[in-house]
Symmetry: C2
Subunit: 490 residues, 2 copies
């Protein structure tokens, strides 16, 4: 088998983990609250249209579906089996899958490489069986996948249908199929294309996922949480080829000695030196972040915005402290903040009281005191975003005295003048209801919104990194263009 | 006048900025949406019981109150004047205050040291007049104060009554009297004792505020946002004496060249070298943080929790990634994570499936898969918190499969065994409504809650810093004791 057809096989096999036409759930139960049933209920609730076959020793009916005593008894060959059973039964089930011709399996049980020498041996055994077959296994210690495209959700946590979007997440943790699965699409979190929980990675790993998601038309940005990669070199090589096609963001857990030790009991990963990973990620054009909020926040910006032409940021803030802290954070991140030119000043002056000082970052507070905030926003945002050497604009909002104009209107007017330069929003103050309302109204416009300055600057930095990657790989040819999607002007 | 009586004068004069028995508002208007009126409406809404005297050239009635044409016409001597007027009128108003014997004034107008050489000259003039008088001036470029004790609120933003708490904030920005004023007490933000917006600090500065708040019985923790201090040496000396009585937290804006330049146009501050400030803060026992979220988050932990005996953290997480990322963050912060002893393991084992590995951080996911989460939480939290060399416990929650037990109950049971060791909560997943509900139920128990691991670790680090300060100043005598308050066991 040559490399190309192997690659195609990987992609079509990987697709069965996300968009299978039929699935068997081993571990379905008569009690509705058991994990196997949660998994089935998730698929039913999120509108999965494929066949679901519960497996239960006594057969009968489970959750309105015909259950089968074993994989051997299924009425047709299924694309995928999800094994929601204890680790003791896993090897037996794998044998049954081989017998039944099921070539994709998700194994949820923990207690393998995450659990000392005995567990490691068990995983070794599993791995050998899998390698000798034509089967692909995700896990063990995986909670499976989510695909908003097909409504396929194997999560063991009850989820409501998840809002679709351009971000795909690949993680050695179930967190994104679990708790975060109830947050995506709200709370300023982005919509989702696909999520894979890789767990201990006895077979399917980050490299497979990258290969698949790079070719997936629904995926605009790929976000990884990894605690260490077995095939790091191959992953980096592939990422290096793909990272100027789709942005790749990574959060590396286990970057310290203590964290590394925790990783070995979490997913059995050898985490490796953080400096080596950091250098390798950078070289491959992968954008590394340092916390979950930034992983999701940066992926959101990369999915919503066009690539900027460079790393030159304009900052407009209604609070002076916002100017100061944003300038600090931009400088620490290595982002540039060009001064404002005469033309920009002339353009903006109409909206500003005559005594305002005016530089980048722009403090709009004087305008607020003069009671002309909305006009000032319009003049200043429009002027700054149009300045030739400003590549993107960060706007820091907080409650403005009694002038409760619609900040989305202001941002739309700025977008009209922006020529596709990214706009980022940061909302620092207001009560919960206003925060949610404002945030939602901007996110509908595909303006990424954050509730802290450092998260906003991290997102701007991610955009700048991607721009640098485009520049390096494509030279000037793609400047200001976004390979995958980008927001249409409202 | 000797130092002591000057100190007492400062404190009693400073108290008039927060709890005046009467206040004149210069800049009241016939139009209800003008800033002076917003200021009056805030006081009325938050239950301020002192006399409010609107000043308006035509007198008459404003917002149900008798207005006076000038400060000279007031029926009694007032404690405080709030000048919500443009900068041109400020010096004239100060003269009127002197004439009327008003010894405390808040000046809201910007356009002084924040606004180039001309503004700086104006501030110089103002300062000279003030220094020659017995008057204290807060500002210019201040939005004044909030005191939940007296319901006194000069904010120029419409605020609802703010939940009271033990945190006082002193800032060279109006942000905390503004947008954040609508958030305190919700969204995981702490309740407030007092807030002062110092603005350009022509007179009242951080040193005055520190002196006052250190003696204020309502204030348990003092949080500063500063862009640079004129009397830095005196401030540090005083802080050094007080920082083992009440925790002092500081966010220093303008720590970079760009940020420093922004600070000079924000509040006319010379920000100084960040390294010098950092070293001096550390030496004075001041806890320095790097963003607004941490300023409030660390202050919250210091207000809610007893001081830990040291920096040794136990981490229990329902998500393995939480273990890994918390271990990384703890190690980077210099927090220690002791291994678990035999006694701890024995205590905990009842609640755990036999195959679980078990170290610090403790990954509870295996217990979740076995469907015994609540029992596992009880056994593990109780065992870890009781281990002699664990000083505080960090618990990372996310949505647990279908076991929607009350996490507050679990935490209460752990608190009963904790012997006043701090417990910190981190909630990573769940939908908005659950996040708010869970967070509120823990915060009612005075367990500080965060929605990201790094913010939680920053808070634990702040507790450890305070513990180190207590150790240094008081030796062993205060170990495990909290000078100011602390949460009663429910």
């Amino acid at each position: 088998m040559d490399t190309e057809s192997r690659g195609e096989m990987t992609i079509s096999q990987m697709d069965k983990f996300f968009n299978p036409t039929s699935v068997a759930v081993a571990g379905a139960s008569r009690s509705v609250e058991k994990l196997g049933n949660v998994c089935i209920a998730n698929m039913q609730r999120s509108g999965y249209r494929g066949d679901i076959f519960p497996i239960h020793p006594q057969g009968g009916e489970i959750m309105g579906l015909s259950a089968y005593a074993s994989l051997r008894d299924l009425p047709k060959q299924v694309d995928l089996a999800v094994a929601v059973i204890p680790r003791q039964g896993v090897l037996g089930l794998i044998d049954q899958c081989i017998e039944a011709g099921i070539r994709q399996v998700i194994v949820t049980a923990a207690g393998f490489a995450d659990d000392g020498p005995q567990g490691a041996r068990l995983q070794q055994e599993l791995q050998e069986v899998v390698r000798a077959s034509q089967m692909r296994v995700m896990g063990p210690n995986s909670v499976g996948t989510i695909s908003t495209e097909s409504g396929f959700v194997t999560s063991l946590m009850s989820l409501d249908p998840i809002e679709d979007g351009g971000i795909s997440i690949v993680a050695q943790t179930g967190l994104f199929c679990g708790g975060y699965g109830r947050r995506f699409g709200s709370s300023g979190l982005p919509g989702i294309a696909k999520i894979a929980s890789l767990g201990n990675k006895c077979d399917v790993d980050e490299l497979d996922a990258l290969e698949y998601l790079a070719a997936d038309p629904k995926t605009e940005v790929i976000a990884f949480y990894t605690e260490g990669m077995g095939r790091a070199r191959d992953f980096l090589e592939l990422a290096s080829r793909l990272s100027a096609e789709k942005p790749i963001v990574v959060l590396k857990g286990g970057s310290t000695r203590k964290g590394g030790r925790a990783a070995s009991t979490h997913t059995g990963s050898m985490s490796g030196t953080s400096e080596i990973y950091a250098g390798a990620f950078r070289q491959a054009g992968i954008i590394q972040v340092s916390c979950i909020d930034d992983l999701l926040g940066c992926a959101k910006a990369l999915s919503y915005c066009q690539a900027p032409r460079g790393n030159r940021v304009g900052v407009v803030s209604i609070t002076g402290a916002g100017c100061v802290l944003a300038a600090d954070a931009c400088q620490l991140a290595g982002l540039r903040m060009p001064g404002l030119g005469g033309e920009t000043l002339n353009r903006a002056l109409g909206g500003l009281p005559d005594w305002a000082t005016f530089s980048n970052p722009v403090d709009l507070w004087p305008a607020a005191v003069m009671g002309s905030v909305e006009t000032a926003y319009d003049s200043v945002l429009g002027a700054v975003i149009q300045q030739e050497d400003i590549d993107m604009l960060m706007v820091i909002f907080t409650l403005v005295p009694e002038s409760e104009f619609d900040i989305a209107d202001v941002m739309v007017r700025a977008m009209r003048l922006s020529g596709d330069k990214p706009l980022l929003g940061c909302i620092l103050g207001a009560n919960d209801a206003d925060m949610r309302r404002w945030s939602a109204s901007l996110e509908r416009l595909k303006i990424p919104v954050y509730s802290s300055i450092d998260r906003t600057v991290a997102a701007a930095d991610a955009l700048a990194s991607y721009s640098r990657r485009l520049e390096k790989v494509h030279g000037g040819t793609l400047k200001g263009q976004w390979p995958a999607g980008g927001a249409p002007l409202p």
